[in-house]
C-alpha cells in the first residue's frame, strides 16, 4: 500500500531496481507472453485513458456554466447567497466553496494526522504483537465504514459532545478570531465537521503509515537498539528517516479523502457561501462536495452544469495537491532506498 513513486523514479543501484532492469530486457517471444504483455500494458494505458476521460467529460459538461453570462442567467442568479449578493461569474460563486473545502480539510488534517501517525506507531512499535494484529484489522475495517455512518455518528454523538467545549473555547479564548462569534447552539459547527473528518481520515493515514513502519528493515532497528538507543531514539534514527516520504504520502491520501468528503459534512455542518475562519458558529463556509450534495437534486440543467463545474475545480485542486505532494516526496526521499525485506508481515 505504500506510495513510493520516488523508488521508481530514482532507479538507484542494482539491488534496488529488482525485477524490471534485468528481466524486461529479456526477449518476449512466445504468443502467451505477447498476449500477456499486451494485456498488462493495455491496462496501464487504460488508466491514463480513464483519467483523461474524467477530465474531458467534466469539462464538456461544465464548460457551458463556466462560460455562461451569470448576471443575465436567471437560473444561475437563483442561488442567491444573500439579499443583495448575486454572482457576476462562476469564479465569484466558487471561491467561497473552494476556500471552505481547503479550510475544512486543513483543520481535519491538523486534528487527525498527528494522532493517526501516533496510532500507527503504537500498533507497529509499542503494542504487544498479538494486540497489534487485531488493532490493525480493526483500523482497516474502519476505513470501510461508509461516510453516511460518520455523518449519523457526528449528529448523534459529536455535536452534543462538543457543546460544552464550544462554550468554553468561545468564552475563554473568544479573543482568538478562530473561536470568536456566536456559538452555534445546535452544534452544527465547522469544528464538529472537522473532528468527524479527522476521525474519517484516521484509518486511511494509519493503515498506510503502519504498513510503512512495519517495513523498516529490522536490521536497522536492531542495530540502533544494540548501540544502546532507547526505543524512541531507535524510531527517530531508524524508522522516521526511512518512512518519511511514506508518511507524507499517507497524509496526502488522507487529505484527498478530506477534500472530497461529501455526506458527513453535508449532514453535520451548517454551510454558507461565505469565507470565514470562525469554527464555532453557524456561519461556516460550505465545501464543494457538500454543496453539490445539497444542491444537485434541486438543480435544473444549467444549475447542474454549474455544480459539475465546481466538481471539475475540485478535481483540479485535488490533482494539484497530489502533484505538489508527489514532487515534495520525490525530493525528500532522495536518500538511498533499500531492498524490501519481508521479514515482518503486516498485521
Amino acid at each position: 500500500m505504500t506510495a513510493t513513486p520516488a523508488a521508481a523514479a530514482n532507479g538507484g543501484g542494482p539491488r534496488n531496481t529488482g525485477a524490471p532492469t534485468g528481466l524486461a530486457a529479456m526477449k518476449v517471444s512466445k504468443v502467451g507472453d505477447r498476449v500477456f504483455l499486451g494485456l498488462s500494458s493495455g491496462a496501464a494505458w487504460l488508466i491514463m485513458v480513464v483519467l483523461a476521460g474524467v477530465a474531458i467529460f467534466l469539462v464538456i459538461q461544465a464548460a457551458p456554466a463556466i462560460a455562461a453570462n451569470w448576471t443575465q442567467n436567471t437560473a444561475l442568479q437563483d442561488r442567491t447567497s444573500g439579499f443583495t449578493l448575486g454572482y457576476d461569474n462562476f469564479w465569484q460563486y466558487v471561491s467561497p466553496l473552494l476556500f471552505g473545502t481547503i479550510w475544512a480539510s486543513f483543520l481535519a488534517l491538523l486534528l487527525g494526522a498527528p494522532v493517526a501517525v501516533g496510532i500507527a506507531l503504537f500498533i507497529s512499535h509499542y503494542a504487544p504483537r498479538r494486540v497489534s494484529g487485531v488493532l490493525g484489522y480493526l483500523v482497516d475495517l474502519l476505513a470501510a465504514v461508509p461516510s453516511v455512518v460518520f455523518g449519523l455518528w457526528g449528529i448523534v454523538v459529536i455535536r452534543p459532545f462538543l457543546g460544552p467545549l464550544n462554550e468554553f473555547l468561545n468564552s475563554s479564548f473568544g479573543w482568538i478570531p478562530l473561536f470568536s462569534g456566536d456559538v452555534a447552539k445546535g452544534g452544527s459547527t465547522l469544528l464538529a465537521g472537522a473532528v468527524v473528518l479527522a476521525v474519517m481520515i484516521l484509518p486511511i493515514i494509519t493503515s498506510i503509515s503502519r504498513e510503512i513502519f512495519l517495513q523498516t528493515p529490522s536490521l536497522h532497528e536492531e542495530a540502533a537498539l544494540a548501540l544502546g538507543a532507547t526505543r524512541w531514539e531507535m524510531i527517530r534514527l531508524a524508522v522516521f528517516p526511512y518512512a518519511r516520504s511514506g508518511i507524507i504520502s499517507s497524509i496526502l491520501l488522507g487529505l484527498g479523502r478530506a477534500l472530497g468528503e461529501t455526506m458527513a459534512i453535508a449532514m453535520i455542518v451548517s454551510p454558507k457561501l461565505i469565507i470565514s475562519f470562525q469554527v464555532l458558529t453557524n456561519d461556516n463556509p460550505a465545501t464543494i462536495a457538500s454543496n453539490i450534495a445539497n444542491k444537485f437534486g434541486g438543480a435544473n440543467q444549467t444549475q447542474a452544469d454549474a455544480l459539475i463545474a465546481t466538481g471539475l475545480l475540485l478535481f483540479v485542486v485535488s490533482f494539484a495537491v497530489n502533484f505538489v505532494a508527489r514532487w515534495i516526496v520525490g525530493r525528500t526521499s532522495a536518500t538511498p532506498r533499500r531492498r524490501r525485506i519481508p521479514i515482518r508481515k503486516a498485521a
Binding site: M1, I47, V54, S147, T230, F296
Partner: protein
C-alpha cells in the same frame, strides 16, 4: 545542560539493572492520579458530568507528571523515551474512543432491526382500506442486492485492470520508461480523486453517451471503478515488489516463459497480499454514497437486479435517504432502515474480509509458516 543524573552518580556497588528506573507500575499510578486530579479540577468548576473533559485534562496531567518524574529519576534520554511512549499511548487511546464509539453507535442502533424480513425483503407498504392507513414494514433486500451488483461489477472491472497494470509496472516496464513514470504518477494522483467527482464523471459520461436523466447500476459501477482502480494498482504493485527476485530467476532458469512465471510464481506467491489489497479496494468503495446516488439514483421499494436499466439502491444510499426523508407517520421504520443498512454494510465488509483471509490462506504457497 548536564546529562549527569542521580543514577549516574550512584556508587557502582548499588547499581543493578533497575536502578535509576521508575517502578514498573508507575505509569498506572500516575495515570490514575492524573485522571483524579482532572476530575477534581472539573468538579471545582462544577462540571463533573463532562467526563470527556476531565479525562482529557487527566491525560495532559499524566503526560506532564510522567515527563517530570522520569527526567528526575531516569535522566533526559530515558525520560524522552518514556514521554514519547506515553504520548503515543495517549494518542492511541484518544483515537480509539471515537472509532469504537462509531462502531458502537451503529451496532447499538442497528442490531435490533436485523430480522429476516429486513434483510431479505423490500420495504413493504400495506394499505388498510378500512382506515386508509398505509403501514410500512422496513426492508432493505433490494439495497443489498444493489450493493453487491454495483460493487461486484466495479470489482470485476477494476481488479483485473489494476492487477495487470501493476504487473506491467513491476515486471515489464523499465524503471525509467517514460510511460511507466507517468502511469505511476497518475495512479498516485488518481487515488486522491474525490468520490463525488467520480460520481459526476459517470453522470456526465452517461448523459453524453446514453442521454440525460439516465440512472442505472452500471453508471454507478463506472464511478466506483475510477475510485477502485488506483487503490488496486497501488496495493498489488507493493505486494508484487515483495516477491523475492530469486524466485523469478529460478523459474527463468528452468526455462519457464515469462508470463507463466508471473502467473504461477509471482502472483501465486503474493496472492495473500493481492487478495487483501482487493478487499481493501472493495471496502473503500462499497460504502460510497454521493457518487452512487448521483449515478444510480434511488428506488425505494422495487427490486431491480438489472444494472443496465433503471435506478438501483445501495445500502449506503438507503441509509442516507432514510435519514434525510423520514416517514412522517412511521419515523421508526425509516430510522431502522437508516441504521440497519449502515450496520449491514459493515457486516458485509467483515464477511468479505473473512472470505479474503480464507482464500488467501488456501492459495498461499504452503511452505510459508
Amino acid at each position: 545542560m548536564s546529562t549527569e543524573t542521580p543514577a549516574n552518580q550512584a556508587p557502582m556497588a548499588q547499581r543493578t539493572l533497575t536502578t535509576g528506573r521508575l517502578p514498573r507500575l508507575i505509569d498506572l499510578w500516575v495515570a490514575l492520579g492524573a485522571i483524579a486530579a482532572g476530575a477534581l479540577v472539573f468538579a471545582g468548576f462544577g462540571h463533573l458530568d463532562y467526563v470527556a473533559g476531565w479525562l482529557a485534562l487527566g491525560a495532559v496531567f499524566y503526560l506532564a507528571a510522567i515527563g517530570i518524574l522520569a527526567s528526575i529519576v531516569e535522566g533526559r534520554r530515558w525520560a524522552t523515551d518514556r514521554f514519547v511512549r506515553s504520548l503515543v499511548i495517549v494518542a492511541f487511546l484518544l483515537a480509539i474512543i471515537p472509532l469504537v464509539s462509531t462502531l458502537w453507535t451503529v451496532v447499538e442502533h442497528g442490531i435490533t432491526t436485523l430480522t429476516p424480513q429486513f434483510i431479505f425483503n423490500p420495504e413493504k407498504a400495506q394499505f388498510d382500506r378500512a382506515t386508509s392507513q398505509t403501514t410500512l414494514v422496513a426492508g432493505v433486500g433490494p439495497a443489498i442486492v444493489g450493493t453487491l451488483i454495483i460493487t461486484g461489477i466495479a470489482a470485476v472491472i477494476s481488479i483485473p485492470i489494476g492487477l495487470l497494470a501493476a504487473v506491467w509496472l513491476t515486471e515489464y516496464a523499465l524503471p525509467n520508461h517514460p510511460v511507466r513514470r507517468v502511469v505511476t504518477f497518475l495512479v498516485d494522483v488518481m487515488t486522491g480523486i474525490p468520490s463525488i467527482v467520480a460520481g459526476l464523471f459517470a453522470f456526465a459520461l452517461f448523459t453524453l453517451l446514453v442521454g440525460p436523466g439516465t440512472f442505472n447500476g452500471l453508471s454507478a459501477a463506472v464511478a466506483l471503478c475510477v475510485l477502485m482502480i488506483p487503490t488496486m494498482v497501488r496495493a498489488s504493485e507493493e505486494m508484487i515488489k515483495l516477491v523475492p527476485l530469486e524466485l523469478r530467476e529460478a523459474a527463468y532458469a528452468l526455462g519457464v516463459s515469462k508470463w507463466r512465471t508471473i502467473v504461477k510464481v509471482v502472483l501465486r506467491t503474493s496472492v495473500a497480499g493481492l487478495v487483501t489489497g482487493a478487499m481493501l479496494a472493495i471496502a473503500r468503495v462499497i460504502g460510497e454514497t454521493a457518487p452512487i446516488y448521483i449515478a444510480a439514483g434511488y428506488t425505494r421499494a422495487a427490486f431491480n437486479a438489472n444494472p443496465l436499466h433503471g435506478a438501483m439502491s445501495t445500502l449506503a444510499v438507503v441509509s442516507y435517504r432514510n435519514y434525510v426523508d423520514p416517514d412522517p407517520t412511521q419515523p421508526g421504520v425509516t430510522e431502522a432502515e437508516a441504521w440497519g443498512s449502515a450496520l449491514l454494510l459493515i457486516i458485509i465488509v467483515v464477511i468479505l474480509n473473512l472470505i479474503a483471509r480464507l482464500v488467501a490462506a488456501k492459495f498461499a504457497p504452503k511452505a510459508r509458516r
